[in-house]
Symmetry: none
Subunit: 405 residues, 2 copies
């Protein structure tokens, strides 16, 4: 039997509750210059106490040595092996879902940048001088007014933050296997939409027409006089967490991408604010209504990417102050971890296994005495793939029956 | 190549001997109230000394978070992935094999209870007042005398302990995909044998006829005046340990289920007594004749299920006293572990990885200084699936050739 069937056959509904707190890019590394990781340096007494009452380990989003993007890393946390064929979800779809666009099966979505080109069509700024969001909204309104349809394909445009926006193409026989038009460097022309297969030729032609029309509309703009398209992708069918685990699941996340992933696996995406405090208040306000909660904290990753360990530590300490409030809610299972590591010395995502703790009445308490990389390595879970944490959570919540007699 | 082929191609016959000692439900957990596990509390100097001379780790019977029944957990110890389709073996077959019934391919076996019903056919006791075993033998003789055949299907009956017995149906085109007739509660009628597929309809009709005839035979009985049937199942084809590993294997187990599993994988099931001492004496008496021995101790699990940590500790200490005798036999490989965890605070099987040690001249000695959950976590094998221990044992016994040049 498939692993999927194994779990589905064992799942049972109970009224226990599971909470997953994800600090994005949580994991760090020791280097010669920085002999302690951010988690080792942070003042996080509440998480450390929780670790002493938990079972700990370290999780790998994909496999040994594989650095994941945020999409695959989150699918893995939700129990979906990100290398499965039906989990190959493009960034365009995730971004569209994160902007609360209602996608339909077969839609092709793309992330777009406003950009600047010179008189010869050579790119001079791939982000159009990071124009403010209001400017982005104005430009998107112009595009919307002028481009509603290309051939028989509907064009749906939505502004994002700063220079970013999303375009969704809706029509028959659209295939999203198309390369980015962003050349990743300036001083060259943007690329044509290149189809990766016979079946994506039509969509590539429509994308090229869209770019040509957009260039016309934006011709008079001083900065944002062209666009770049990335992450072409169609919405695949992914079984929901309700289907797989019989969970009513809710997402508390303030950033689009994470709301998007949660939406793909069928979570209710709750309205919340941008601050950590807002997110924990949203969690508390909806506590009675769901049996699984995913709470996402973004800025540990952002500071990691900036190479700013102090900033990352500060966010960890901010989150730590909400742990007592969480424990008062009395979840049957608490998991705290990250989607991947973002070590400040690397200023990027990395493959290093991420500290993980799971607390329940029957988790089994191990020898880890704090919540950080080295202590979690002493934990009884060892290193294991992130996509097993949901099964552990279900087991600890009494939601998995025995397999066989 | 499949994993199965990989191993089969590398196996070589030698005169080395492997001993696997399984303490059922061995693993435990620390909780807030009980900060040490039973293995951590037990006085087991011989196993602790052995751990210091062994490689240690913790094994998972199925996967993260999956709590196994005893059948799947034992198949895994013998190197059979219990989620493989051909390892889905029903309880009826296991119980029949455990009672030393000689099954043939295509036989359908069921576990039966004698039960009590009132004048309206409503169940009043699903175990017939737990009648003594002698009574069960007498009633089974009555059934045997009166029911030998239903249509063209042979009916083979064997008494078990107390109110339990086994019925095997032997004939053409029998399919065991049939639901239990035991409704699991009293105050209602027993259920009809419900076929789960078109192909099991015939077997379901025969089972219903058997129940009707049995009710006639038992009509005058004060307690055991009806029967309940569970675990309908046919004997599948499972490659033997001889086929897979070229091992002549023997089982020393006093409980039916474990003898049954051993028989399915082709072990000789040795006659032994109910006490731990009997089992170790049986092992010693047959030591010269086999190159693989499986010795099973039941009561660690029973006490775990009772929530009796002291009872569980006592059994561990009883087993410990036989370790010196084992070491005098000088096995090339000794493995000590459990099939799954049965933590007394949970009073049930659980998913927690099970302490494991393997001793050989070339095992590699690690930092685990005792045989328990936390020390085995420090062992060099880390957590891994139980179905790899046989390969480790073969390697340590010099029974696996090099792969490739």
């Amino acid at each position: 039997m498939t692993h999927h069937d194994l779990i589905k056959n064992l799942v049972q509904k109970t009224d226990s509750k599971i909470l997953l707190i994800v600090m994005d890019g949580l994991g760090g590394i020791r280097t010669k210059d920085r002999p302690k990781t951010e988690l080792e340096l942070a003042n996080i007494p509440n998480m450390n106490q929780l670790a002493r009452e938990s079972v700990c380990g370290r999780i790998m989003p994909v496999s040994y040595g594989i650095t994941p993007g945020s999409g695959p890393a989150h699918f893995s946390l939700f129990g979906y092996n990100p290398t499965d064929d039906n989990i190959q979800i493009g960034r365009g779809v995730l971004e569209a879902l994160g902007l609360d666009m209602q996608l339909q099966a077969g839609d092709v979505a793309t992330r777009c940048n406003f950009a600047t080109m010179d008189g010869n069509g050579l790119l001079t700024d791939r982000r159009a001088g990071r124009i403010p969001t209001e400017e982005c909204v104005r430009l998107c309104e112009m595009l919307k007014k002028n481009i509603q349809k290309i051939d028989d394909v509907d064009v749906i445009i939505k502004a994002g933050e700063q220079y970013r926006f999303v375009v969704v193409f809706r029509g028959k026989n659209l295939d999203g296997h198309i390369d980015d038009t962003d050349p990743q460097v300036t001083g060259v022309k943007s690329l044509h939409a290149h189809p990766r297969s016979e079946s994506s030729k039509r969509m590539a032609q429509i994308a090229d027409k869209f770019i040509a029309q957009a260039n016309q509309v934006l011709k008079g703009e001083p900065k944002a006089n062209t666009i770049l398209m990335r992450g072409f992708s169609a919405l695949p069918h992914v079984p929901s967490m309700k289907d797989r685990y019989d969970l009513t699941a809710a997402c508390v996340a303030s950033y689009p991408l994470y709301r998007g992933v949660a939406s793909v696996v069928g979570m209710d995406v709750l309205t919340t604010g941008m601050e950590i405090k807002d997110e924990f208040e949203t969690l508390k306000a909806h506590w009675a209504k769901y049996d699984f909660f995913f709470l996402h904290v973004k800025k540990t990753d952002s500071y990691g990417e900036d190479g700013n360990p102090e900033g990352k530590i500060k966010i960890m300490e901010d989150v730590d102050r909400f742990i007592p409030m969480i424990r008062e809610l009395n979840p049957d299972v608490i998991m705290i971890t990250g989607d991947h590591s973002t070590p400040p010395p690397m200023k990027s995502h990395s493959w290093h296994p991420v500290p993980f703790l799971l607390h329940s009445k029957v988790c089994g308490i191990d020898d880890a005495v704090a919540f950080n990389e080295s202590e979690c390595t002493k934990g009884q879970l060892s290193n294991f793939p992130s996509y097993y944490i949901m099964e552990l959570a279900l087991a600890n919540a009494g939601k998995l029956k025995k397999f066989g007699a």
